[in-house]
Symmetry: C2
Subunit: 519 residues, 2 copies
Amino acid sequence: MDFVLLFNRYAERHGDAAWPRQRMLHECLRAAIREGTLAAGTRLAASRALAEELGVARNTVLYAYEQLSGEGYVVSDRRGTMVATLTAPATTAHAPKGRAAAARDPGLGAAPPGLSQRVRNLRALPGDADRMGAFVPGVPALEHFPMALWRRMLERALRGMTALQLNYGDPAGEAPLREAIAGHLRASRGVLCGAGQVFITDGTQSSLDLCMRALADAGETIWIENPGYGGALAAARAAGLVVAGIDVDDDGMAPRREDWLLRPPKLIYTTPSHQYPVGSVLSLRRRHALIEAARAAGALIIEDDYDSEFRHDGAPLHAMQGLTPDAPVVYLGTFSKTMFPSLRIGFVVVPAALAGDFALMRAQSSARGRVAEQLALAEFLRSGQFVLHLRRMRRLYRQRRDALVAALEKHLGSVATVHGGSAGMHLSLRFNDARIDDVEVTAQAERHGIAVNALSQHDTQGDSGWKGLMLGYAQVPAERMEGLVKQLAALIHLAAYAANRSIKTPYQHARRTSGRSRR
Amino acid sequence: MDFVLLFNRYAERHGDAAWPRQRMLHECLRAAIREGTLAAGTRLAASRALAEELGVARNTVLYAYEQLSGEGYVVSDRRGTMVATLTAPATTAHAPKGRAAAARDPGLGAAPPGLSQRVRNLRALPGDADRMGAFVPGVPALEHFPMALWRRMLERALRGMTALQLNYGDPAGEAPLREAIAGHLRASRGVLCGAGQVFITDGTQSSLDLCMRALADAGETIWIENPGYGGALAAARAAGLVVAGIDVDDDGMAPRREDWLLRPPKLIYTTPSHQYPVGSVLSLRRRHALIEAARAAGALIIEDDYDSEFRHDGAPLHAMQGLTPDAPVVYLGTFSKTMFPSLRIGFVVVPAALAGDFALMRAQSSARGRVAEQLALAEFLRSGQFVLHLRRMRRLYRQRRDALVAALEKHLGSVATVHGGSAGMHLSLRFNDARIDDVEVTAQAERHGIAVNALSQHDTQGDSGWKGLMLGYAQVPAERMEGLVKQLAALIHLAAYAANRSIKTPYQHARRTSGRSRR
């Protein structure tokens, strides 16, 4: 083996690395051993001779050899340095082959094993809020967020950080933030809780994930509204729960007698303040009924109160959590809508009787930290800036909703009905003729640069009977509504005409055979 | 019903709320309805009459009644306003009772259903890094972190934030950070990857959680080192995996032939650079063997490289991920040790063949955002400040390790052996006599204000044969080592004497009957 040639070739190929000579030699020999150019048992050149041939100090060569030895690539004996044997021991011959054969990609050698089945289950869902523009739901009016104010509070919190606060934080969240949230929820949402029941998370998806794993075991049943929130469906599937879709009407989730009998739930996921996606508000009567029935069935309600701070008509209904003492309710909230999504702070309020268990569990399993963000947010709440910001946004969103509703009624009143606009940041437009293909309308709108969600894409089990569009209006200026809705209306009227004449486009034909509502 | 009396009593009790009259009336009536003071069917006083009696405008009363009506607490007919019926409908009578009966707390009415079994499985593990001080492992020298510099970079990133960046971010992480991490890993850890293979997480616990759910299904087997990392064990249990503990010796994880035959793994969790907790470095020969055997078995290796940047003796071994092309390895890294824990940024490097699937999966399920932190960290890496900080910390930690090793050998050389100090932020002290009760020593030390971890508390399956202490030294000044070790030595010598004389304390007797190692 001509080590000088080997080295010079390697140095030529890696000249841009600008390594010192000893590093270059080390890398060169290691690469040659890995690639098999230097086979096990090959003797390396004597250090003194190689140093002379390469025109480097002997220490340079010795250092490289030492490195290789430390890494196990070479072994030394009395006669010098030799390439070590690196092949796997005989045990591997006994490893089972079945899965390996299945995982192999015939083109590229061995492909790694793939994703688990439970994660593959997620792939059928539509993505949502990574887009912006009309009418993507769930995205607040970000350009109206008081960023300079928030930055000042965050910078103040950063400046106050002690070395101790750089460490792992309280897994339940920072105490001042838990206090501030509990105070706000008591005053504005009628939630009955102490700070010890509040647990900080990275947002609603984390909260859902946490609740579905902590409060139910694989194989247990969860009720999810139908149509319903895809993120809840994803979390439920990832947790191995059995999903039962429960119909939604104008008064929100409407479980039937046979649902309680035939599919008794362990968990009930619901969005009572503003149903996702259709926007219904769960009636008070249904709230009481659901609480009592859940209590009797030993089930827990997960109340996702994601955008309830924006109530446009009349005073908001209080949260289910505070409706009766000791309601079997876990309450979820988020600052993604009230502050901004990339803040990534949400929370879970658990029943007092579960708070101790929850704290223990979080201590074992959760991410802990982000102290400055939490303290800044606590200050934002305590200072009254949060309520001020909410008030401004409420006014803005109401204007935008009014403009959207007016435009929808003007241009689409004959073929569709507006639902669920009394709260939140989105409403739904239900097609009067359920044969209108809402997915096709969505695809057409996308081509015109308008992002809408088809209600039927939110079906969580079978056909929910809701055909139409989900329209997020929080980030759309009022003066743009008329123009956007006009464009949308043209597409919908065309689709209505097609549905009425039973003219199926090839796309529709391939996708589904029946678009009929069961209502 | 005397509504005036009812109101006055309520107003007296809630005088500090400083509500306007109409809100006070609304709250008063709602509370009375909820509590049953105003039963279903009760007629409310006529608005005009009540307004006169209370001395308020009639609109005030009408407003309160409207609110109650909107919430469903009252209904109106031609004769006036009446309390609505709020009890649950008959359907609830059919709900199954079994679980409810079990969940009820006889003292307090109905207690909510409790935690899932899979979460209860977590509770046996010891908590770790929420403490500070000698010798808590995993906590860096936080007072040496260049906080002012980091704050400046973060503030610059915050100032550059656009409204768009307040929105949900890329679920895989911000591109500049993924690029910077890939570049750093290639240069310093020999990891072969492009930025598209790097996924940003909230830290190692999130990474573990993600990997164990995304790469294996419930009921599949994961190998975890024994003794091993409790966080990995917790994630595996939460994911419903079957855990097989694999013995660890001075050369790291040592699977036997029968492990491959009898407990073939889907996932293999290992800490090759610095075994957690004992500190062994997985030998190169074993690395190759593990990779080849995993490939043959269709298993994926999860390489947790949590503190490998701190190599004290010689050059670090490259990561397993880059040892051979297309190694079946998922590589985990974290900035909790190299920056600070509460930053909450870690990452997963997946095989190129899995990157597309992983990106799709993350788009469905992950928290997205924290853009400013990610961009600031990218800048910290790109600017060279990260490597500079690592170099300073490496020097500091090496001094501290040297002082600790010297003190341990001086005061405990006769009864224990130092292991695994060549890298990272902790080492292990193995008792020569495996009958010494390391948990008892830990408890005694705690009483003296010294936090140590017993190696046997890290057993992941049965008795690992490792008895001794895990000592984190990164945050302990070199000059304090001698004094602390002296204190510790007194306790250990006492325990060794007790073990030798077979004098069992009552505590030991109750806790376990045999302390014998199987080695």
